[in-house]
Amino acid sequence: MYAQLDSIQHLNEVLVIDTKLEDYSEGFELIQLSDTLIARNSVSLTEVLNFNSTLYFKENGYGMVSSPSFRGTNASQTAVIWNGIPINSNLNGQTDFNTISPSSFNTIIIRSGGGSTQYGSGAVGGSIHLNNTIDFQNKQSSELKLSYGSFSTIGGVFKSRFSSDKKYIDLGIDFISSENDYEYIDLNRKNENGNFDKLNIAANAGLNFGKSTLYWNSNYFLGNRNFSGTISSASKDRYKDITTRNLLTWNKASNKWNNTIKGAHTFERYRYYPQPENNLYFEGQSTTYLGDYQLEYNVNKDLKISSIINYTYIKSKGSNIGVNDRNTLATILLWKHHINEKLSYGINLRQEFLTNFENPFLASFDVKYAINKWYSLKANASKNYRVPTFNDLYWNSGGNENLNPETSYQAEIANEFIWNQFRLNITGFYISSKDLIQWQPGVDGMFTPLNISKTENIGIELSGNYSKSFKEHQLNLVFNYAYTSAKDLEKNKQLIYVPYHKATGAFNYNYKKLSAYYQLLFNGEVYTTTDNYGILDGYSVSNLGLEYLIQEKSFPIKIGIKLNNIFNTYYENVAYRPMPNRNIQTFINFKF
């Protein structure tokens, strides 16, 4: 039970397929979100991260397109990494966080800071790692969760795993459907045309041959959403998207050498129906083939060197982008050295070839210093990049084939303090970006993307965690706060939709079979126009939840109820797009 309470962990050791993540990111902040925490905001990855991290989300109404801003960077500068593979769309460079089913993953890890040397394009503000773990223990378990709530929201999650010391297989099915017709508080109107349904199927398997192992990860997502309108104009458009991901990993390890070969195929397709009644749509699709070979050499127990060669082929086509492809060859060198028990550092280098852009050379350096028992220091500096998307390059009309990657330099210092049950992190970061791609009107009035904008982001992040237990009572308190100044250097104005202040808080309480929790989200005011005249008010939203374990042994059953937006606050996350009023969600969970 205690483990359940410790809902946000700063990562120590987890078994993940993406070994680079913990081995070569010691000087970076990694935060892992636990199963319990994910389950409490299981509707979307937006909700999980919104309530549990300093990432800011711009959501076009509840459940609609959701784009993140990590440390004030733009939506395509947050990389989403699925089992080590980057999955941001090749078409628009982003991941829509409302199309990721958080329940499909064992761990979700937030890695702050630049990660382009390891993860490639887009890992500028930070990266979100969605991992499926495969382990060879004798275990067999299944879980079924059914949920029902306001706005005719029905959901179901089924998960099952069978494993032995030789084999592993799991299957997860995740479904949610909602009318999403919440009331606009005091406006006497409802959220029209906002209904959605989403289906995600994930399957993972592993074979253990002793000295070598073979893994397979797969994920299939099907989304069908109507896009809700704004206060000032109704809408009727619809959006359907499909993504499929498959990854095969073969690993052979000896004392000194560790070989990993990966092959992956990912596919994405969207269809946008501006007037669904006539069934006409705009389409975009993209297929990625990825091959990756990693050779790791343990020089001794303190020094580890890894070289990676990665080849990616992307082919995209669509109503507005024609048919185009891209080859990228990347070579990566990773170096991790533990000088002594207290001090370690890492060096990561990346050089790309073949692309039609200026091929960037990227580097990152990180250091971790455990000064004493209660204070440790992490610092890192890196050069990162984001390549132009297929939309930027080929959009008809306006696309610009002469674009180059965006470049960012960043540095951060993180302090971690631990006193008994209290942990506090204080991090300062700096990001300087240039050649940012921005669509601008030309003399003929046509918008064209250009590498012109420059930004400077400076910020401070605070996060803390306090746990206490006495007798059968357990308490846990978590908070996050970020101050982010993100300036467009030409205009010397704060970037639109980047709040100066964002905070989250959670209070968890456990007593025997009962647990209760309170979640708080605060987003400060944001600017909606680039001259900072347009302002969208800040808001805070609170949720309250109660869970009860009816039966613990043999056939555990858990029931829960969650009250969202308990104070029935009217708020807009994007101007003119109201978010849900007070609502209730319930669930029942069986384990067998």
Partner: protein
């Protein structure tokens, strides 16, 4: 607030005047706060927000933003496309919100909101007791475009006139209504001529690709065609066309180079003014060729002329307040730059 204030002033003023000069009959009572000046329609942020209307007094001493909201305490809606007039009424066409706000053009007090019978409304013109509004319908369907006829006494759509795709600007000339088919998201090349006595399509006139602006001079219509842009794969030249309204024929046409795509035609007396490649050109209506040198440098989102002055807007980055620059056309020098709302798309004169 402004209305209250002005009404209070008005009462106070009237009281003073009536008590002091009781037999003076020549008092000019202003028709409203916005009588002596011009109005700017600002489209507003493209997706999430509301357009606005700004007012600037003739001497530029008063500038009021968001006057509709100030007077009526509500937003206009999404994408304020354009404005048209009839007597002392202004008809504000709000595209995405599919409505027309009818206000008093001098006080900006709301009179009616037309929501029924419109689908992607674009521009408004009036003749007699009827208003006419171009509508794209479904922008991806080229067969459902129409001109809505509005009964101005009831402010309702009384009938629709189906037209070819992409109707945009419309203008009254010689008792007929001329509709330019710019072509919506695509390209078209005709004018529709509508008989306003019968509210029926009379004929169409082929003018040139992408007719984007029109002005009336005597009984002629000058039509500026932008030509098909290069991304269409079938780029065509811009063209300036003169249509004689007596027999609805093209009597003069001036071709630009294939890669030249002019826009924003307006007229000052007998001088035609348009924008091309970041420069403003002027052409005497009677001259036999296109001008080769420009009068003003600048790429403008919208242009209008009035009383010897050019009003040219710049939408900037389309995500913040734009600007309006006013030029004296006798010297081609700038008089003033005024900040507007977001994406200033039209300038209209109240006197």
């Amino acid at each position: 607030m402004n209305v209250l204030k002005s009404t209070a002033y008005l009462l106070f003023f009237t009281f003073l005047v009536t008590s002091c000069t009781q037999d003076d009959d020549d008092i000019i009572v202003p028709l409203g706060d916005y009588e002596y000046g011009f109005l700017i329609t600002n489209e507003g942020p493209f997706q999430n927000g509301s357009g606005t209307v700004s007012f600037v007094s003739d001497d530029y001493s008063t500038m009021d933003h968001q006057i509709f909201n100030q007077v009526n305490s509500s937003d206009l809606g999404n994408v304020v496309q354009s404005m048209g007039f009839n007597d002392d009424h202004a008809y504000i066409v709000v595209n995405n919100s599919n409505k027309i706000e009818v206000v008093n053009r001098y006080t900006f007090e709301t009179i009616a909101t037309i929501t029924e019978g419109l689908d992607n409304p674009r521009y408004f013109a009036s003749s007699g007791s009827n208003g006419y509004v171009t509508n794209w319908g479904d922008p991806f369907d080229n067969t459902d475009d129409f001109v809505a006829v509005i009964d101005l006494s009831t402010n309702t759509v009384s009938s629709i006139i189906p037209v070819a795709f992409g109707p945009e600007k419309l203008i009254m000339a010689n008792n007929d209504l001329y509709v330019a088919h710019q072509g919506g998201y695509g390209q078209n090349n005709i004018l529709s001529v509508i008989d306003v006595s019968a509210n029926m399509l009379e004929s169409t006139i082929e003018v040139g690709d992408v007719p984007n602006s029109m002005v009336v001079s005597n009984n002629d219509i000058w039509v500026l065609c932008g030509g098909n842009p290069s991304f269409t794969g079938t780029e065509t030249n811009g063209r300036l066309v003169k249509v004689e309204t007596s027999d609805n024929t093209v009597v003069q046409a001036f071709d630009f180079l294939t890669t030249k795509h002019p826009a924003s035609l307006s007229i000052d007396g007998s001088t035609l003014i348009y924008n091309l490649d970041g420069e403003v050109f002027s052409k005497e209506a009677t001259s036999s060729s296109l001008p080769t040198s420009s009068i003003i440098t600048g790429s403008f989102y919208a242009m209008a002329t009035n009383d010897g002055k050019l009003y040219a807007t710049d939408a900037g980055d389309f995500a913040s307040n734009g600007t309006l620059r006013i030029f004296d056309l006798s010297t081609n020098s700038e008089i003033i730059t005024i900040e507007t709302g977001i994406i200033p798309g039209g300038v209209y004169f109240n006197n």
